[in-house]
Symmetry: D3
Subunit: 186 residues, 6 copies
């Protein structure tokens, strides 16, 4: 039954407002036992001049980009080997953690580390999930890996999950878990 | 600057309302570029008689339990070997996916599968994250594993992440990724 | 989908608030094409000190009595011949209009008029409807009449409808239509 | 003193919103003892994208037509003998009840029944009232009849009241009471 | 922390709404101990057709002019000797009170009274404050006077404060205090 | 017609809320041309746990004391010669400005300055006005002075106005204008 009203400065697109109403509906359902159908969300938009905090109007800021899309775009750039694009998506202080190799700081580190592991790898994404926590967007991307081992033998269907933190539209961290070693050890 | 108002039937505890205001704040921040400080959330509670949908009042339902706690309690019960408690937390149709072993349906399956892998394992949890999506709570628990290999040699600091889906307070699924094979292959 | 919020001074009973949420739901549905299920009504109650018009608080007043009940009570008093009770329910200036006899002002007039028509009459009420309009509650009561003709022959199943106007809990007018003459003319 | 806020999808005309604010004011006054002047109604309109139930936007639907006008249009078509127009206004399952003749289902039935009663009849409407109840609009039309008896003698000033139920803009039922037999029996 | 929502008919300018949000922020801070930063004000504007009191829409009226500006304009007109403009700003029944001379009713009175006091006087305004009280705007203008005494000697830095009452954009009263006599008595 | 809603943490007294509704009504009337009667103010109170900014609840703070009363209490203490009470009401950095004597910082300064001016003085207050501006309450107290000149001759009816600034319940400044010199120079 909950009814949620969100008062915003005007200027968001329908897609951005749709992301917002979904996020607010999910927030309610994390605590209140109710069906989706029973959660009503209303967004009230205001002209900047109709809002004041501390007696002063605020300029509206563009919505944050969809963090799921940022994570997927980064993975796509990496898969294509478009390292310039991938690196442009990283925040200062970015760090990566991959199985067996904690805390790489650059994509070059990653390439160096990966070269003994596989010739190439492709991701088939089956699930992308995002939420906000402690000042950052958190995105989980999971699915399966396919590619070729260093000896050229193909592999596929190896489970993976990546966790990204994103602030201000830039990637702050990437943590990766997968079953590559499990598969290799068979 | 957003202001969020949530209208609820009365009866939630301060802790439950705190979880709700946090979730609503996070929902806003997923889309609207603003500081935490600038997000105001107000909960308006109503007596059941003051609310009607379709001309009828609704009885308030108890809040959903914190899904993070459910996941942590399940992991603790498993670690203690308290299988009765752990099994009581499973929804019908529960399924588990562990590295190299998809789709186990019972805890007995898990124990059978695990017995060649390690004598015992303990989890040090460093991060627990929960959100709601598509009708279920999703919880991610990550951290490191320690324990003994089948030969009695100790191990520690092995990364893991578990993803749980929880509906109506019961576990629907558990997906596990970790670096055990990575470590063994060294 | 409409959501209706009504801000009231506190002090209404659950039954009174139920009448109000029903009336508000019906008001919406007179204009907005929607199912009952989709109309949410919330009543926000305030202590008198939390409300001011013109800078002054207002004392809450008791809810108006249910006008349907007033009409039914009047009809019951008339049927029992409890004329004192019936007359006490009339506002100054009350007027009645019955078939073939416009504008009687007192219950004595009615009794005089009725005595050639039937020995007694009872009402079986099948429908009572009330709404507010132009400063008065309007109540329609309809159903069938049974009783005895002046010659003692019984009758039953004769349709009737009464329209009442009620102000301040007192009856202002009663207009009556029925099929008695139709039946007699057979 | 009550303040009513109605949140609607945008798209209603000023006339439709005027009907709505009147209906909401009347709803309040059915229960709360207050002057018309003291009832404030505010309609907040939203773009469809600013509203979500169950996480989904809803398309706005056109307002329901004024049920009073539907009833009056039907009576006018009948009076003109424009049976095609009148029949097009009927919902499937429509039924009529006239004095002494319950439950006619078609306008042809009505004409057959009426032909021994009068040559023609005209309605002078003095009061039209509408409200919503149990999923249907209810309209009462009352006033006086004039016309000619089968022998050509004129009559006038005969009281009548019609009760209509209207769903989805179509007439579901018509119940008629009048003093024709009363008058004939004089 | 307070959040203030003001529902208005649409049609106010950004400058007028800025005056309003400031006044509402100040109203809160007169009673609630909070920083300016923590007071959020939202103005919700409505088309006239979306608002009804007593079931009737209201036409929006232009905002009241800024009373500070009215007071300053009046003082400027007086200083320039533009008496026609100054007199046009007075409400019927206007009265002035100056040091030692209560209750002058016309500007001619003032000029007559002032002529023995100084050749001319100019105001340097350092503070203008306005608020609303008991149906009138109250404006205080304070600062220092400079000019020439009747003997041609210059003066400056003499404190003054004027209190104006303004209704419907017209000056109802002016009360003046200053240190001219204090200065002359030195 | 404006409707104002103020959302506050609960805990204010009826008197404090009355001051607040009056201040909000006055704030509206400074800009919107409307009668007092047409301004509706509603205060919605919340338990601390129902409010969060930045995801955190806030503890309610006691209302600010009425600044008019503070100013009047200070004047009464001065008039009685209760200097301890008066001094306890001063904020650090307090400054006074009296006719012909700018910027005294202590009450002793004032007494020294005043001793050649009058034996004693009493204030008859006819108007006390308060509002909030730029982080401080501003209070104007005006009326007439009576007392005895240094030579023992009595005086009365001499106009005065005091302007106080008050922060956190303490006096920050006092500015005084009056007609004493005007009167003496007669």
């Amino acid at each position: 039954m909950p009814v949620v009203e969100a008062h915003l400065l005007e200027g968001y697109t329908p897609e951005e407002k749709s992301r917002l109403t979904t996020a607010l509906t999910d927030a309610i359902r994390l605590v209140v036992p109710t069906s989706d159908e029973a959660v009503t969300v209303m967004i009230h938009e205001m002209a900047p001049e109709n809002y004041a905090r501390g007696g002063k109007s605020r300029a509206p800021a563009p919505a944050l980009p969809d963090p799921k899309q940022i994570a997927l775009d980064f993975l796509a750039a990496m898969e294509k080997g478009d390292l310039a694009t991938a690196e442009a998506m990283l925040a200062p202080g970015f760090r990566m953690t991959f199985p067996g190799k904690a805390l790489m700081a650059t994509i070059d580190d990653l390439i160096e580390w990966a070269k003994d592991r596989y010739r190439f790898v492709k991701k088939t994404v089956t699930c992308t999930e995002a939420f906000h926590k402690d000042g950052a967007a958190v995105v989980f991307v999971s699915g399966t890996l396919s590619g070729e081992w260093p000896d050229g033998a193909p592999f596929e269907g190896i489970r993976f999950i990546d966790r990204f933190e994103i602030k201000g539209g830039k990637l702050v961290s990437q943590d990766v878990w997968n079953d590559i070693a499990e598969e290799r050890s068979k």
